[in-house]
């Protein structure tokens, strides 16, 4: 269909880029989710006033373009602190905090969705705070939060396209490298789009499915 100079080696090169996208996303989402849960729980426990500094800190990650966050973190780590981190490390650190900031909101929403009366009931059965969290809040909050969390994971995967600024060659950057060499922008971009779609569409569908299923009961 297309007359193209694209070789199988190039496809492997693209697949490697896609692999990097997945690696960056997986690491960041994993760390970011753990942090997000911790931050979210802390925010709920401390209440609006005492959690204000944390809220402000997390808010920064949602109010500044990711591109700038990456550039700044890179400059700060290397130029100011003189720490020699690889680009992948910096990318994952920034994306993890970025994920955590959004995840904390989701977690907070999930916990708030568990009625206080239900939690009181658990506590009055003699459950500790931890048991209440583990057996009552976690399962109930997960139902509320999981669809949004899947949305977040997808968002982070797409946003990971920006880590090229710290010299990480992910999917979109790999595509640009091939465009430089082969000069077939439209064709290559389409392939790149298909790659993204293939990674994210099933997850998106799964999120939609969960939302539908859980909204029914």
């Amino acid at each position: 269909m297309f007359d193209t100079a694209l070789s199988s080696a190039d496809l492997i090169f693209l697949a490697k880029g896609a692999g990097m996208t997945i690696v960056v996303t997986a690491i960041s989402v994993a760390i970011g989710t753990v942090l997000g849960i911790v931050f979210g729980v802390i925010r709920v426990q401390l209440g609006t006033v005492y959690a204000a500094p944390l809220t402000f800190f997390l808010d920064i990650f949602r109010s500044v373009p990711l591109l700038i966050q990456l550039v700044l973190a890179n400059a700060f780590m290397g130029m100011v602190l003189r720490l020699q981190f690889s680009g992948l490390t910096v990318a994952c650190m920034v994306l993890s905090l970025y994920t955590a900031a959004y995840c904390a909101e989701i977690v907070r929403g999930g916990i708030d969705a568990v009625p206080t009366t239900t939690r009181r009931a658990a506590r009055s059965l003699g459950m500790t705070w931890g048991q209440d969290m583990r057996h009552i809040v976690l399962p109930l909050a997960t139902r509320v939060a999981l669809p949004s969390w899947i949305g977040l994971a997808l968002g982070v995967m797409k946003d990971s396209a920006l880590v090229y600024v710290v010299q990480v060659t992910e999917l979109l950057k790999s595509t640009q490298i091939l465009i430089t060499r082969l000069q077939e922008p439209m064709f290559l971009l389409l392939i790149c789009g298909v790659f993204y779609f293939v990674i994210s569409f099933p997850l998106a569908r799964f999120g939609g499915y969960l939302e539908k299923r859980w909204s029914n009961d």
Partner: protein
């Protein structure tokens, strides 16, 4: 402690230029939101329409907007579209890219909002003699607006943040573009981008705060 000497005055001297950039950033964001809302309404209607192909087009738009990176969409809006011989300025390309993204996300929100409004509302309107359009315009849309207001505010913030991707299509008059140019001239990376970050932060705060004020005025029910 630091192995780096900050030179803030070097960077601060460029603040007026950066503020000019912030104005361009706001222009793109506001325009992309306004057009994006119109497109989203259209997409929502198309997705409800009887025609299979119209529904497919609208659904395709929404899915691509939501499942590919914004950077990809903006790159497409410049270099992709140009493959068909259509030449757009960087400003317009960025605007189209962000608008495309906004419309996709908002259309999905609108659909959810629409589902949340009971059908009986339309019925009530129709039985007062309103036409379908009138019932939609006076009864459904205002209620949708309230449900979608918070998501729209978030989308507006994202639109502002997305303008930073304009550099990939040759825009250098927006806040990020200006900052990058200044960085190429002076190499004061940390200071310049820190200032840009603060400006972005202030812009997004202004947006969320004014949205809260508007919501308080608009939705008193």
């Amino acid at each position: 402690m630091f192995g780096y000497t900050f030179q803030w005055n070097q960077a601060l001297a460029r603040l007026p230029k950066m503020l000019d950039g912030a104005v361009v950033t706001m222009e793109v964001a506001v325009l992309s939101m306004l057009i994006g809302i119109l497109c989203a309404i259209l997409l929502t209607l198309l997705r409800l329409s009887g025609s299979r192909s119209l529904r497919a087009v609208a659904t395709g738009w929404v899915e691509v907007a939501r499942n590919t990176p914004a950077l990809f969409q903006i790159y497409m809006a410049h270099f992709g579209i140009a493959s068909f011989g259509i030449h757009l300025s960087p400003f317009v390309s960025l605007l189209i890219g962000i608008t495309f993204n906004n419309a996709g996300y908002l259309a999905e929100n609108f659909r959810g909002a629409l589902k949340a409004i009971p059908d009986t509302q339309i019925r009530a309107g129709r039985s007062l003699g309103m036409s379908q359009t009138q019932a939609f315009r006076y009864i459904i849309v205002p209620q949708m607006l309230r449900i979608s207001f918070l998501p729209m505010t978030n989308q507006m913030v994202w639109a502002v943040l997305m303008t930073s991707l304009g550099v990939t299509v040759g825009l250098n008059s927006d806040l990020y573009g200006v900052t990058q140019d200044l960085n190429a001239l002076t190499f004061r990376t940390f200071e310049l981008f820190a200032i840009a970050a603060v400006i972005f932060y202030i812009i997004t705060k202004i947006i969320t705060l004014s949205a809260r004020l508007i919501a308080a005025r608009l939705f008193r029910y």
